[in-house]
Symmetry: C2
Subunit: 220 residues, 2 copies
């Protein structure tokens, strides 16, 4: 059994065209010596510009995606090839981690890797980039059981979740790759189950670490 893990609607994208002339973006691009069209949208630097962005609170958190990917790729399950990882983004791009890709722990290197991948396409040895909605992605993956994790879901114990995953032929688990908000209605429609594993909202990296640890325990 190989688990498909999707960070869904992730807050990872290049600065959208309508913000490229904003002072905070211009000065960031200048400081880095890169064109504004080639840098990641990042709330830490572009907060002011993002105030006028649609769904601004759900976007521009590459740091969060980075930490979530580290928590996934640091697990024995991942290094043994037991997890296939996709980062689906708010703007409907998909970054597929190629077999056993190691994500740089340095944020600077991670940022460079993702900026290159999103700018140059379609793949750079570590990541393969394509355009796809979440619905399309899970269809392409061919999963027979798409399980979304959300505070809006049905309360489920970790044992029960592991059993659900273990019972599927080709399970797919979706974790929100954003800091605020919920899955979109369209993404929700593509899920077979929506469960929550804790009373409180947990960060994506914490959820990923726990799910993979449980799957690992149940698969040995």
């Amino acid at each position: 059994m190989k688990l498909n893990l999707v960070l869904a609607e992730s807050a990872l994208e290049l600065v959208p065209s309508e913000l490229r002339n904003d002072p905070s973006v211009v000065s960031d691009a200048k400081r880095r010596g890169v064109d504004a069209s080639r840098i990641l949208l990042d709330r830490s630097f572009h907060h002011r510009a993002m105030l006028r962005l649609k769904d601004g609170l759900k976007r521009g958190r590459p740091d969060l995606v980075h930490v979530a990917l580290l928590s996934i790729t640091g697990t024995p399950l991942y290094s043994e090839g037991g997890v296939k990882v996709y980062v689906h983004t708010y703007t409907n791009e998909v970054l597929e981690l190629l077999e056993k890709t190691r994500i740089p722990k340095s944020y600077f290197r991670f940022r460079g890797l993702v900026e290159q991948a999103l700018t140059e396409r379609p793949r750079n040895g570590l990541l393969r980039v394509s355009e796809s909605s979440f619905e399309r992605l899970v269809k392409d993956v061919g999963s027979d059981s798409v399980i979304g994790l959300s505070t809006q879901g049905r309360k489920t114990s970790m044992d029960e979740l592991s059993a659900m995953i273990g019972a599927a032929r080709k399970p797919c688990v979706a974790i929100g790759g954003f800091a605020q908000g919920h899955f979109s209605p369209k993404s929700l429609e593509a899920m077979d189950e929506l469960v929550r594993i804790h009373d409180k909202s947990l960060e994506a990296h914490v959820v990923a670490a726990r799910v993979l640890y449980e799957v690992e325990k149940h698969s040995t």
Copy 2:
């Protein structure tokens, strides 16, 4: 029961004086507009300079410490006050996280916070900095059971480890805050137990996530 968690001998320090004139350090400091004495040693930028540093492979990984702290502070156990966190460094400084301190997920903000704490001392509202060896720290904490996690330790199941932690009055768990190498002999001497929880070497953030998750499960 409150768990004391120490990231021990962590690869976190300001650029040591003997490297401050190295070209890689000078250019990094210049680019950032900060004096070289006030920036964190970071292998991503100072790799060349670090080649001639004693124990260079064990030092200069603030990125690793950052991710480990996120994996700790993102847990419900931490936000409910069930974990006290100390970062003991290679150079025998201790950063104590004050009650429920939230660590910035942005690496830039984290770096700024730590650089300020290490430069300006003794505390900045989130961190309290002091000088102490690991041995001294665990003595000050007053722990009756200091458990080190290391691939050099005795193989132990997570259930057994949780039971050991649960049996102590004031447990202290030490995880190496470095990417390569092992605990120093002096640190080892200060530990009551040395255990390993996996056949392979796991990154600090993965170890921390798993230990806290198990403690959390056993404490509810």
